[in-house]
Amino acid sequence: MTTCLIVDDSRVVRKVARRILEDLNFACREAEDGVFACKACEEEMPDMILLDWNMPNMSGIEFLEALRKMPGGDTPKVVFCTTENDMNYIQRAIQAGANEYIMKPFDNEIIVSKLTQIGLIDY
């Protein structure tokens, strides 16, 4: 089963994302900010990370930069999922090593489409 870490400070968003991803047969864990996400990744690297941008303690982009320096941290596919929809943010995310970028609001079609693009689900 493909494993996934959902990182978002909103419980509601985590719940919605979890439901969509579990329907796609992903095994999900959750983290409510970058610090918790780091810990989760040290315990076990997921195959995919769905990542919010604005969070307390450690933002999504700070987490991503830290992740890519961790041992094994280059393997997870990272998909940003954020209300930030400015091209500058998108560019920064991709430069930092994100694989895809979702602008909120999202729905399951967008998630499926993005995960297909990065090869995590088959067409």
Binding site: N85, M87, I90, Q91, M103, F106, S113, K114, T116, Y123
Partner: protein
């Protein structure tokens, strides 16, 4: 709605666009045509239908056809056909058309442009194989209004997230508030023109690749067969035809055969591709 009135609409739709509707879709006629009936000062959809029996108001009929056709589309729809275009069709054509350096592509039910633009981005990103080539890319649809949208190349945030890889968004679009505008170099690769698939396409010449996806599903068998015949006449002997995921040639025509092991890809029955396989 009374059956005779339903039949009037069904006949208009079939004759004008090929769209085939059955009487269980009566509610759909009602709901989609109600705003048009109102705008044209008819008491009801039924009254408009009765009136249409005796008049042929082209503008009104165009609006009716427009309202009843489905325009849903997205970038890189189903992913796979676009991979096949890139990995099977392009390498073949790069060699086979090396002498003429001309490639003719037709997107025959282009809707708001996502399909032809996806192909244009693939061609653009492939870069060098096509430098110095004459890429002749035609995109048509029956609906003049949807083509106006296509020409604008202006999409909502939702539209650019369905199917479009983020790198392509970064490379080929400019943000304008909550809209995303396709860059001119991609837009300029494509020529848009209104065309009804029931008409004779011979004026367009012969194509190397035809995309005719997710439109034949709305036609009845007889109409599909007719359209396949026309498409076969416009496809080079070694050309490629792409159909939608729910569409097939089986039982409808002998003009085309599936290309082995590539879903949605078809070639002419006399094609070299089948002899080599």
């Amino acid at each position: 709605m009374r059956l005779p009135v339903f039949d009037i609409y069904a006949e208009i739709l079939k004759n004008k666009s090929g769209l085939s509707i059955t009487s269980d879709k009566s509610y759909l006629l009602e709901s989609r045509l109600a705003p048009i009936a109102k705008a044209w000062d008819f008491a009801s959809v039924e009254a408009m239908g009765t009136d249409l029996q005796f008049s042929s108001n082209h503008k009104l009929i165009e609006e009716i056809v427009d309202a009843m056709t489905t325009n849903e589309t997205f970038f890189f729809r189903d992913t796979k056909p676009f991979d096949i275009f890139k990995n099977v069709v392009m390498p073949y054509m790069a060699q086979a058309r090396e002498a003429q350096r001309q490639l003719k592509i037709w997107s025959a039910a282009a809707s708001s442009g996502q399909e032809p633009y996806s192909l244009a981005m693939i061609l653009k990103d492939a870069g060098t194989p096509w430098s110095g080539w004459n890429l002749d890319f035609l995109a048509t649809d029956i609906s003049a209004s949807i083509l106006e949208q296509a020409k604008l190349g202006r999409y909502s945030q939702f539209e650019v997230q369905r199917g479009l890889p983020i790198q392509m968004l970064m490379n080929h679009f400019k943000q304008d508030g909550d809209r995303w505008n396709l860059n001119d170099d991609i837009k300029n690769m494509i020529r848009f023109d209104a065309f009804n698939l029931l008409d004779n396409p011979s004026k367009f010449g012969v194509f190397d690749v035809i995309f005719c996806r997710n439109v034949l599903i709305y036609f009845d068998a007889e109409t599909k067969t007719q359209v396949f015949k026309k498409l076969a006449n416009q496809l080079a002997p070694d050309g490629f035809l792409f159909l939608g995921g729910a569409e097939t040639v089986l039982g409808l025509t002998d003009e085309f055969k599936p290309y082995p092991n590539q879903r949605g890809l078809y070639v002419r029955a006399d094609s070299v591709h089948l002899k080599n396989a």
